[in-house]
Symmetry: C2
Subunit: 205 residues, 2 copies
DNA sequence: CTCGAATTTGGTAGTGACTACCATATGGCT
DNA sequence: AGCCATATGGTAGTCACTACCAAATTCGAG
């Protein structure tokens, strides 16, 4: 970890920060990568060595939060699945709360730009797929197709809780606590407080 | 509904069909819109009047299937929510089964191209948001934020079931029945056959 | 049938994201 | 100091996509 890595990390953050600055000032669509590169005092070539696409500039932080939680879960092989899922959800929310302004900015940009929204959504689905993969390896039973199916459904519910909580959270700054909402979501699902397709007894309170 | 509309619909389908042909032959990334336009014997200008983006060429059918089910649900104001959700799920699957080859082609293209995948995922999320909107207006209670939250969770579960079923369905051509799988998913959720976050009694059978 | 209006079409010019490639500069190590 | 690996900036080019215009086509009215 010499000076090289330090400098790399610094320019990386500098580019991303300048990008967010320009995006919030002039909008995502009205900002060119050339302008971002100029603001960060690097060549466009260099910018593309650090970030794969213009959208990647925006989504890195959220992506890291999701990936970290999945890999953490992956390294807890003896944990009960239901506990692990709860822990993954809370872990993601904790990571996101590390930088609330950034998260809000990401969702704002996604709302005003279709391509950002698309890439954000793909990121969330990748999280679900990775999480489903971890679950799949721990599910018993001799029917792999069924296990894959159950894993996808289970991971999908976790993804849904996170997305729903974050959506409310970014729309009500400071008014709600993310982890509390997540626990409320789990209770609603457990107690039938959410209408489930084909489950008539799941009534709304 | 004169000759104009007929011709419009014909060229529209011609363009989309030629696009799929070229995509499956040479891949999404290695096909240019100019080539598609040339194959359909129209100008690139005309192609962009029919489809908003290159990805839009691929996703139109799936989008229509999802949108149709939501608007159908919207027009059934007196239906029980849980019955409506089940009906929406089955309706989407029925529509998709109308053209299985096209659905499979879409998912194949999404698997090999990040941009197609991103736009497909955004489409699915838009379905969830639209469905959540319909649910929201029918949920009782005096807390709009809570209702919005419940609607998002509920619609998200429907989205999840559809996505999970379709994923298995496209990977096992002819081996599984979509509607049967959807009903199985609903039963698994009802009986605790899917591990839910924070719900210890949801054990795998 | 024919003329005029509305719509559809193809073409042109241009912007901007992104890639491949090369020469140069910079940091790390002996 | 000097060598090697890596990081950087610049150039040229492709391709998706937009704005705009002139020609062709379709439709309805006389």
């Amino acid at each position: 970890m010499g000076l090289r890595e330090v400098k790399r990390e610094r320019t990386r953050r500098l580019i991303a920060d300048k990008a967010f600055e320009l995006f919030s000032d002039h909008g995502f669509g009205r900002t060119t990568v050339e302008q971002i590169a100029a603001a960060a005092e690097v060549g466009p070539s260099t910018l593309y060595r650090y970030f794969p696409t213009k959208e990647g500039l925006v989504l890195e932080f959220v992506d890291d939060c999701l990936a970290e939680a999945v890999s953490w879960f992956h390294e807890q092989p003896s944990m009960e699945l239901t506990d692990g899922l709860r822990a993954v959800i809370e872990r993601v929310l904790e990571q996101l709360e590390t930088n609330p302004d950034r998260v809000r900015a990401v969702f704002d940009l996604a709302e005003q730009n279709g391509s950002v929204s698309a890439h954000l959504n793909e990121l969330i689905w990748r999280f679900r797929n990775d999480l489903a993969d971890v679950l799949y390896r721990r599910l018993p039973g001799d029917d792999p197709r069924r296990a894959e199916f159950v894993a996808a459904l289970s991971a999908g519910i976790a993804m849904n809780i996170i997305e729903s909580v974050v959506r409310v959270w970014v729309d009500n700054p400071g008014a709600v606590d993310a982890k509390t909402m997540a626990r409320q979501a789990m209770r609603l699902l457990r107690t039938g407080g959410v209408p489930l397709p084909g489950v008539p007894n799941s009534a709304v309170l």
